[in-house]
Chain length 323, copies 2
C-alpha cells in the first residue's frame, strides 16, 4: 500500500490551526482583521504549520499548545509576506492582488505590525521563555534577510551571500517550525537540534527548488510569469553559477536583464540557454537534492513511525514538485 | 530652596539608558542600526524612560533591569515613530528630515520591525511574563491607534473617538512606563494600578497640551509650523469643541481646511478666532489641567520622597510648558 501524502496525517490538526488563525487574527480595528485573513484565505501550502504538527507527533507532543505554535508560525509567515509586499511593491501574490495593492502601504505596514505582535501574544500564552527567545530571534533574522535582499537586488552577489539570504528568508522559519513542539514538550537539546537541522536543510531545498522552477517551469505550471526573479533583479543560485561560468558576452546578458529589469534587449530564452549550457541548472538541482537527502538522513535517526515516514518523504516530494 | 527639575534626579540613570540604547540597537545589517540611532540622536525629551526611572526609584526598585525597561520603552517609542513617519509620509520630525524621507519606505518598514523585535528581545531577558504581556498588549493598542488615526484623518469625529485615539497613541505608553518597574519589583497590584493611572492621566494631559500648543504657540516656540494638526486633517480636542459650538459658517471654515489640507481659502487666524470666541481653548486647557491634577493626587498617595516630589511636579510642569 502506498504511503499517505505527508500532510494527510495531520489534516484534522491543520483544520484546527485554520480555525485558530481566523479566531486569533480578529482586531478591534476592522482594517487589520481583513488584511491578515485575506492573505491567509489566498491559500499557500501551509507547509510551516504542517511541519510543527508532524514534528510534534514525531516526538509525542500533543495538546492545544501544539496547535497554538502551528498558528504562530503561520501568523509570522503572513506578517512577513504583508511587509515584504509593501517593500517589493508587488501587485500580485499567489495570483491575486497583493494586500499592498489592495489596501495600500499605510494599512499594510500596520496590519503587518499587528500580526507580528499577535503571533508573539499567542506564543506568550504558552509561558515558555525559550520558545519566545527562538521566535524573536527568528523574526529579527527574517527582517534582516529582507533588508539584505533589498541591498542585493540588481547585483551579482557571491554564492555565500545568496545562501545567507535564503537561510534567513526561508530556511530559518522551517527550522524553527520543526523545533518548537519539541521545545514545548521539554525534549532534549540534541533532539531539538536535530529537528532544527532537518528543517534547515528542508527549507534550503524548498527555496532552491522554488528558485529553479522560476527558471525552468512553464507559466501555466507556476501560475505566474517565469523568469520573474531575474526580472526583479534577483540572481538565484543557478544564475550565479551560470554567470560565474559564462563568457564576457554571457555575463553581459545577465547584467543587461538586471539593469533593464526585464527581457527587452535579452530574451528569457537566451538566459535559459546560458543556464542549460553551463550545467548550472543540473548543479543547482543536485544541490537541492543534497539538502533534501541530508534532511532525510537526519529524520531517519528517529524511531520508526508514520510521522517519521511523512517527514522522510517530504524532502524528496519537495524537490520533485513541478510547481 | 527650589526643588530640582524632575528629570535631574535620574540624570545618571538616563545616561545609562542612552548607552544601552546605542548598544542594543546594533544590527548585523547596517541600514537598521543607523535608522534607529539617527532617530534617537535627534533628541526628544526622553519623558518615557524618565518615567520608568522615577517610578522605579519611588518604589525602591533598582538595578540593571530598570535601565533595561527604560531602554525598552524608548525603543518601542522609536519604532512607533519610524512606522508613523512611513504612514504619514512626514518629511520632517523634530526639525530634521524624517527617517522615511532620508531612507525611504522600504528600509524604514524593516528598521521599525527590527526595533520592535529588539525591544521585546531586551524585555525578554528579564524573564517576566507579566511585563511581556503588558508590552505586547501596549504595542498592539498603539498600532491600532495609528490605524484609527488614519481612518479619522480629515473627518470631524466625536470627542470619545478622539479621546480613545490619544489614549492609544500617547497615554498608554506613559501608563505602562510608570508600571513596569513596580511589576519587575513584584509590588502589589494596587500600587501597580495606581502608577498606571498616574501615567494615564499624565499622558492625556501631555497630549492635550501638545495639541493645544499646535493651535496657540508661535512657530518659533514650536520649531515647526503652527496649525499643523488641522493642516494634516487632524481635529484635536479644542477644534472638535469649537466645531460643535460653531455656526454653520464656522463649521464650514473647519471643513474647508480639512478638505483643502491647508489654509488657502480659510486663514489660520480665522480658525484661531473661532477657537478663542467659543471658549474651546480655555475648556481644553482646563481639561488638560484636570488630568494633570488627577495624576498629582494619585502620586500623593505614595509616601514622601524626592522622587514623589518629582512625579508630583511633572504634571503641572507639563501643562505649563510653552513648547
Amino acid at each position: 500500500m502506498p504511503r499517505p501524502s505527508p500532510f494527510d496525517l495531520v489534516r484534522d490538526a491543520l483544520r484546527r490551526v485554520e480555525a485558530q488563525f481566523l479566531e486569533d487574527t480578529v482586531s478591534t480595528v476592522s482594517g487589520i482583521t481583513e488584511i491578515g485573513q485575506y492573505l491567509h484565505a489566498g491559500g499557500g501550502k501551509r507547509v510551516r504549520p504542517a511541519l510543527v504538527l508532524l514534528a510534534a507527533a514525531l516526538c509525542g507532543v500533543e495538546g492545544p499548545g501544539v496547535i497554538a505554535l502551528a498558528t504562530v508560525v503561520e501568523m509570522i509567515h503572513a506578517a512577513t509576506l504583508i511587509h515584504d509586499d509593501v517593500i517589493d511593491g508587488a501587485e500580485t501574490r499567489r495570483g491575486r492582488p497583493s494586500t499592498n495593492f489592495r489596501w495600500g502601504t499605510q494599512k499594510c505596514v500596520l496590519a503587518g505590525d499587528w500580526l507580528y505582535m499577535q503571533a508573539f501574544k499567542v506564543a506568550l500564552q504558552l509561558r515558555h521563555f525559550g520558545i519566545l527567545d527562538e521566535l524573536i530571534t527568528l523574526t529579527q533574522a527574517m527582517v534582516e534577510g529582507e533588508l539584505l535582499q533589498q541591498e542585493m537586488t540588481g547585483r551579482v552577489v557571491t554564492r555565500e551571500q545568496h545562501l545567507e539570504l535564503i537561510e534567513r528568508k526561508t530556511a530559518r522559519l522551517f527550522s524553527v517550525s520543526c523545533k518548537l513542539a519539541a521545545m514545548l514538550g521539554g525534549l532534549g537539546d540534541d533532539i531539538i537540534a536535530r529537528l532544527g537541522a532537518y528543517g534547515h536543510h528542508l527549507g534550503l531545498a524548498f527555496q532552491m527548488v522554488d528558485d529553479l522552477l522560476d527558471l525552468t517551469a512553464s507559466a501555466a505550471q507556476l501560475g505566474k510569469p517565469v523568469g520573474n526573479d531575474l526580472r526583479e533583479g534577483k540572481m538565484t543560485l543557478a544564475c550565479l553559477d551560470a554567470y560565474a561560468a559564462a563568457s564576457a558576452e554571457g555575463r553581459a546578458h545577465f547584467e543587461c536583464v538586471l539593469r533593464e529589469r526585464g527581457y527587452r534587449s535579452v530574451a528569457f530564452d537566451e538566459i535559459q540557454a546560458l543556464l542549460a549550457a553551463s550545467g548550472a541548472l543540473t548543479r543547482a538541482r543536485l544541490e537541492a537534492r543534497q539538502h533534501a537527502e541530508r534532511a532525510r538522513e537526519l529524520i531517519l535517526l528517529f524511531p520508526p513511525s508514520p510521522y517519521r515516514d511523512a517527514l522522510e518523504d517530504l524532502p524528496l516530494l519537495m524537490v520533485e514538485r513541478a510547481s
